[in-house]
Structures are given as C-alpha cells and as structure tokens.
Subunit: 292 residues, 2 copies
C-alpha cells in the first residue's frame, strides 16, 4: 500500500530507453529534459495488465468527455496547487509512475505535468470523492505548479469591502493573494514584520518586530511558553488554556525559525520523513542529549 509514497521523495530507478510507454522521472529542478539518458524511467503498463486497475477505474464517474476533475494538494503545507482533469489512461499512468498526469482539454491529449517544464509533481497518495467524479493527488511538487511560474495557480482574490464593492486583487503571479491556511498566513505575517524592520518606522514597534530584533528576549519567551504549555497539563488547566498556550509557543517558535530562514514547510518535511518510517519515534527515543 506504500507504493505511491515514493521513498523520501526521490524517484530513483534504472535509466531506460525513451518510448511512449515510458515516463521520465525527472527530479532535478527547472530542467526541460524529459527523456534524457540520465533520467530514470518507469514502465507504464496497459490498464488491463495491472491487477485491480480496471476495477478501480470502473468505479469512477467520468463526464461525457471521459474526464474526472483532479485537485493537486501539497502533502506538507496543504496548499491546493492546481486543478485539472484526467481520463482513465492518465489516472492509470499517475498510479503507476507516481507522477501527476492529466488529460489536457486544450491540447486533446494526455499530459504528464512537468514533461516540458521539468516541474514534475510527485504523487504520494490518490483519493476519490463520494461522487467518484473528483480526485485528489496528495503530492510533493518539484518547483512551481502553475504554468505561469507561480507556486500555485490561485493568485487572484475577489472580496467585498465594507462599502459593498467587489475588489479583485493579485493579478500578478507573485501576488500575496493566494489561499493560505492559518499557519502559512501567520508565517507570512512574521515575514512581513521582518521585511518592515529594514524600513524606518514611527511609533512603538510591533511585538513581532521586538522579538525579531532581540534574540535573547525571543529565546526567553520560547522557553517560557513551553513551560506554560506544560503547566496546562501539570496543573490541569483545561483544553482551552492548552490550545491558547500551544498557539503562543507555535507563534514564538515560528519567529525564531524566521530569524534562521527556516520555513514551516521544511519542518513538515522533516516530520513526514521521520514518522513515515517511524522515525519520529526512533529519533525521539535516542538517549537524551546534554542540554542546558
């Protein structure tokens, strides 16, 4: 059941000759080479040659063009990266190769994302919805998912202001108007405070700015907040208080990570690799280090 979860995110294999029945597993970023001798390949079998494949594909409800909708979601950050359509053959190919493959309605043909840009999408898990007409490819993309070069395809936002007027913002690919979950939005807010440090400011600096400018204060706060989180358990202060203290600890820790140029995505990748191989437990069970 683990086959779609490519080990440690790398898709290694023996190079094979390039034919239409083979798919290149290009792991290098920004390469436009699809079928180079250096690119490892995986053979794609016909649907009927893979036991269970037809049975699964038969359960899906294709539209009159033979397509289902596909959502590509980032396994670590939860970002929705792109949305496209797939036919039976594209789904079969995705399952076999672990590379996100679609049916292009504009080009009328099967399309392995990345085959021209090098920005392949490693699919770790594949899900079907209740109506069997929409799939999720839970993925670890190589480079930007959008053909414009943007990280995700959604970078334009519409909103209604207090004056009951609709605004559309973020027409550019490097827009901040992308769907961000709470964690990613907090990370961006911290980065905005960091960027603002370079600007002359008036009035009292924000708390985040103070933390960013004072590593000693920041470390003191991180240790304090960890203590307060522990105290919620030790003193039985209740779940609401625990959630609040965890929020404090997470926020202060993320300020500390920002100072070191580390993104939560990297932290999530570490966790995925650890607990994907029971590594969290392995690592955590090692004898304690000498700590202050």
């Amino acid at each position: 059941m683990q086959a779609l979860r490519s080990s440690q995110g790398s898709l290694l294999g023996r190079p094979r000759p390039c034919t239409s029945r083979l798919v290149s597993h290009q792991v290098a970023r920004r390469s436009s080479i699809v079928c180079s001798a250096a690119a490892p390949m995986k053979k794609v079998e016909a649907e009927q040659d893979v036991p269970g494949m037809s049975k699964f594909l038969d359960t899906l409800k294709y539209d009159k063009n033979g397509l289902v909708a596909v959502i590509v979601q980032h396994i670590d950050t939860g970002e929705v990266m792109m949305q496209a359509y797939a036919d039976r053959a594209a789904i079969s190919e995705t399952l076999q190769t672990g590379l996100a493959t679609f049916y292009s309605r504009s080009r009328n043909g099967r399309w392995c994302k990345g085959e021209t840009s090098g920005h392949f999408i490693n699919v770790h898990r594949l899900f079907a919805d209740c109506d069997r007409d929409s799939l999720i490819y839970l993925s670890d993309p190589i480079g930007p998912a959008c053909h414009t070069g943007a990280r995700t395809c959604w970078f334009s936002e519409a909103s209604l202001d207090a004056g009951h007027h609709v605004h559309t913002e973020g027409e550019h690919t490097h827009s901040d108007h992308v769907p961000m979950t709470t964690l990613l939005a907090l990370e961006r807010t911290i980065q905005q405070r960091r960027d603002a440090l370079a600007q002359p400011t008036e009035g009292k600096p924000s708390w985040t700015a103070r933390l960013l400018s004072n590593p000693e204060l920041l470390c003191k706060k991180v240790r304090e907040e960890a203590g307060e989180l522990c105290q919620t358990l030790e003193a039985g202060e209740g779940g609401e208080r625990a959630a609040s203290e965890m929020a404090d600890l997470l926020y202060h820790s993320m300020v500390l990570l920002n100072l070191q140029g580390v993104k939560m995505e990297e932290v999530m990748r570490v966790l995925r690799k650890r607990f994907g191989t029971s590594g969290v437990e392995e690592k955590a069970a090692r004898p304690p280090k000498q700590s202050s």
Copy 2:
C-alpha cells in the same frame, strides 16, 4: 477588503423576512431550519447592483454550461472539503453572503450548501486561478462538508502495492483514507498510539506510548526540546538543525495536546482569531505572567 472574513467566525445580523432574495445565516450545528425568524439574514443584491461584481464575474471563463469548478478548502487545517461547480449567480451570492453557494448540475439550480442540512460553509476568502475557470472558497465549515455525513468528500483511496496491484480502500465515510497533510497525519498517528494504550501490547512500547503514559517525562521533553530549539539560534547551529529541533518540539507538544484532548485545528483557530485582529501581537505584548 475584510468583508468576506466574517468577524470571529460568527455571521450575525438583523433577522429579515425569508424570501428568495435573502439567505439565512444559520450558525447552529445540525439544524435543518433555513429561514427561521431566529436565523439572521443578509440581503443578496442583483449582480449589477454591486459595484465591481460584474467586472469580476466577467473575468471568469465559464464552460458551455456557464459553470466554473469550485474547491472548498478549510482555512485552519488546509483540508480540501468538497468540490462542486458554480455559475455567475452562485458566485455573486457567495461573495455577498459569505456562505458557500454552488450550482447543482443534478438538480439544475442554485444551491446554498447547508440549506437543507444546516451544514453551512462560512467562506472567508475567494480566489480565482490562472485560467479563471477554477475557484477556491477558503472556508470555515459548520459541520461535515460531505452529503454522506463525512467530514470531507474524499474518503476512498487507490494505491499500487509492491506487487504492482491496485487496491481501493476506505469505502466507508468514517474511513482513515482521507487526504491528510503531514501535520494532520502526525496527529492521527499520535491518536492511534493513544487508542492502542487500551489494548494489551507485546514487546517494548513505542516512544509515543511512553510519553502518553508518563506526563512527567513528556513535560520534561517539551521543555528540553524548546531549549534545544533556542540553542540552534543561540549557538548558530544552522537552519537544518533548527528545522529538526522544531519538528521535535512540535511532535512532543502535540503528544501533550493529545493527552488533553486538544486538536491542532483548535490551536489554529486561536491563532487565526489572534493574528486576524493583530491579536497575536496584542496578547504577546502583555506584561509577562509569573512563570516558573
């Protein structure tokens, strides 16, 4: 620009009579009442009566049935909750009411999610993709999003095993075969260890099981890991080490939260409410509490 972000998640307003031009903002869970006197209402204007609305709706690329795809994503957890389609009127209604509204292809009509089940979806932000034919409603759903009663519509997984055989799993709505980001998957793993504590075990218990069984050890580890994270900054140990220590701190903290029955979703909600109103900074800037 804040209008779509309903303040603190509540959709309060003055009750109005129930007509086809009004939408009920039902916030109570599991109620099937749509237009009760107690349910606050918001007026929905015609598209042309909302400045900027037609201009935005004109930028979208509708299919020959006049529809675009819509993905509903959970603002706190990043979960993809459901996927449906919307016409111009449904998008206009969503922008104005802040409630996820679609066009039902099976019923050939506009459909405000929750109008029969009570499981409305509060839409905080609305995004369009690069091709202008797919939207994301970044949302805070009330109750399950799926018509089956499942939390999300994706609860069935297809995977290829080492023997090159496709398996389909999770036919039931309470399946564990749902797309989970790394953070949610870790949370589930911890819960599985917790559940297993009630079972007789053979051999050495897992590290997570040991932590769950020994709050004193757990709190000691949380404090230690916070110290080690700080040390990466204090001693300039580098970003890779910082990511690794943050992973440790996050994992141990999540075990501590599990013991108190607290989910990361709740922590994210606290953070969203705080930093959505600059509350993170307000809270954090208060004079320090007496801590141990």
